[in-house]
C-alpha cells in the first residue's frame, strides 16, 4: 500500500495543533520508523491513517485515493486493509488467543474453515501456535504483543501500523518484535512503526521520519 501525506494538518477543537503541514510519501513495500517525543503527533498521524480521526487540512492519499472522499461506510473496508498493533495490545481477555486473532476475519465474514487455517498460520508466524487455546491474560507481555501482531496480520493487510509496539518490553523482546515487522515487510507489506526508542530504531537501518511538535523535522536516513 502506498501512502502520501500532502500538507496535512490536524487541529483539535481545543485549538491544539497536533500536526501541521506534514508531507511524506511511503512507497509500496517500504518500511519506515516514526519517531518523536510523546505529544509530537505520532499517534495522531496513525489515527489519520486509520481514519479514526480526520485531518483538518491537506490530503492523505492511500493508493492514490483521497481519504476525504471516503464516506463513513467505507471506513471498515479501509481498516480491513490496514493492520494495527498498539502498545497496550488491545486484546480481549474474555476469549482465547485463537479467537482474539480470528476477530478481523470474523468481522469480514470469512469462512470458518479459512479462519482456522489463517489464524494458525498467523500464530505460527509469531511463534505462538502452541498457545492458541490459552487466555491472553495468562501470557507474558512479549507474548501478548505477539498475539496483537498476529491479529494485525491475519487479514494479510497491505499496510501494517504499529504504535509504540515495544513500549513495555525489554530490549531483547523489543528487538524480536522489530524483527517480526521486518519479516512482514520482506513479504511486501508496507510497514510504519512509531517508536521513541531511538537506539533500537537506529539499529534497524530503515527510513526514519521524525516529528517535533506536529512538524516533520527529519525525513530520510537513519536517525
Amino acid at each position: 500500500m502506498e501512502i502520501e501525506f500532502q500538507r496535512v494538518s490536524k487541529k483539535y477543537e481545543s485549538g491544539q495543533e497536533a500536526l501541521s503541514q506534514v508531507d511524506f510519501h511511503l512507497h509500496q513495500g517500504e518500511m519506515a520508523f516514526l519517531t518523536g517525543h510523546s505529544g509530537a503527533g505520532k499517534s495522531t498521524l496513525m489515527k489519520l491513517m486509520m481514519m479514526i480521526e480526520r485531518q483538518t487540512a491537506g490530503q492523505i492519499l492511500v493508493d492514490g485515493i483521497d481519504l476525504r472522499t471516503l464516506s463513513r461506510h467505507a471506513i471498515p473496508q479501509h481498516r480491513r486493509r490496514v493492520g494495527v498493533v498498539f502498545q497496550n495490545h488491545q486484546l480481549l481477555f474474555d476469549r482465547s488467543v485463537f479467537h482474539n486473532v480470528a476477530l478481523p476475519l470474523q468481522v469480514s465474514g470469512a469462512d470458518p474453515k479459512q479462519v482456522a487455517k489463517r489464524v494458525r498460520a498467523a500464530l505460527d508466524k509469531v511463534g505462538l501456535l502452541d498457545k492458541e487455546n490459552q487466555n491472553p491474560m495468562a501470557l507474558s507481555g512479549g507474548e501478548q504483543q505477539r498475539v496483537g501482531i498476529a491479529r494485525a496480520v491475519v487479514n494479510k493487510p497491505q499496510l501494517l501500523l504499529a504504535d509504540e509496539p515495544t513500549g513495555n518490553l525489554d530490549p531483547k523482546l523489543s528487538a524480536e518484535i522489530m524483527n517480526l515487522f521486518q519479516e512482514f515487510n520482506h513479504v511486501g507489506v508496507t510497514v510504519l512503526v512509531a517508536s521513541h526508542d531511538l537506539a533500537l530504531v537506529a539499529r534497524m537501518r530503515h527510513r526514519v521520519l521524525t516529528l517535533n511538535q506536529g512538524r516533520m523535522v527529519n525525513d530520510g536516513g537513519f536517525a
Binding site: 479514526i52 471498515p76 488491545q90 474474555d94 468481522v107 465474514g109 520482506h186 513479504v187 511486501g188
Partner: protein, 335 residues
Amino acid sequence: MAQKPNQRGATRSSVKATKRHWPKRSSFSPAQYLRAHKMTLRDSFMRLVNYPLSSVMTVMVIAIALSLPGGLYVLLKNVQSVTDQWEQQSVISLYLFAEVEDAQALALSHQISAQDNVASVEYISKEEGLRYFERSSGYEQILSSLPENPLPIVLQVIPKEAVDVASLPVLQALRDQLAAQKEVEYAELDAQWLQRLANILSFGQRFVYVLSTLLMVAVFLIVGNTIRMSVESRRDEVLVMKLVGATDAYIRRPFLYMGFWFGVLGGFFATLCILLLSWWVSAPAKRLIDSYQSDFLLQTFNADEIVLCLTISAFIGVIGAWIAVNRHIVNIELQ
C-alpha cells in the same frame, strides 16, 4: 544476498494474494450471511444464559410490564362478549302533556304503531296509570288526598329492535323522533344502564390503550437501558472490532438479537402469566356468569393473539435495542 531472489518471489506472490483477498464485498454469499446470523442468534442467547440473574430479572420486568395490558385486554374482551349477549326488550315510554285528551292520544298511539320499526304500543290512560301506581308504590293515601289525578297519559312503545350495545344508537334515534311529537312532553328510553355500560366499556378500552402504550414505552426503556449497559460492558470488544474493520451493522447485530431475545422471552412469560391467570379465575368467573345466563364461555388468549403478543414484544425488543446501540456505538472510538 543469496536469499534475495527468493524474497522478491515471496513479495510478488504475497502482493497478489493480498490483492485477491481484499475485495471482501464481492465474496459475499447469502448462505454465509445466514450462517453468521444464526451464529449471532445463538451467541446472543448464550450470553443471556451466561448472565442468568440479570437476564431473568430483565425478562421478568418485561413480562410483568406486558402481562398487565395483556390481562386487561383479556378482561375487556370477556366483558364485551358478555354484554354483546345481553339483550332485552326495550321500551320507550312517552309521557304526554297533561292537557292531551284521550282521543288525541289514541290517534297518536295508532300513528306510532303503524311505524315500521315499532312492534306495538301500549296505551296507559291516566286512570290506569293511577291504579298501577297505587298498586306498586304504596302511596295510596297521598294520591287519594290529591284533588285530581296528576299522572299523564303514557304510551309505552315497544320497538322491533331488541336493545343491546350495538342497537343503542338506533333506539336513541327512535326515542328522539318520538320525543319530537307535539303531544309528547318527555320520552324515556329504558336503557340507561346499557348506555352507562357502553360508556364504561369505552372508558375501559381507552384506559387499556393508554396503559398499554405507557407500558410498552416502559419496555422500550427497559430493553434500551439493558442493551446500553451491555454495550458499555463490551466497550473494549466494540472498540477492537471497529479497529479491525467491523461495520456498524456487524457490531449492532449481537445487541439487536439480544433485544430480540429479551422481547420474545418477555412476551412468552407474559403470555404464560395471562393464561395462568385466566385459568385461575375461570372457575369463580364461570359460577358468577352462570348465575346470569348459561351459554357463556370464558375467553383467554387465542393462538392469533399469542403470536401477536410475541411479535409485538420481539419488535419492541429489537427497536429498543436498535435505538440504544446506535446512540452508543458511534461514540466508541479509540482515544
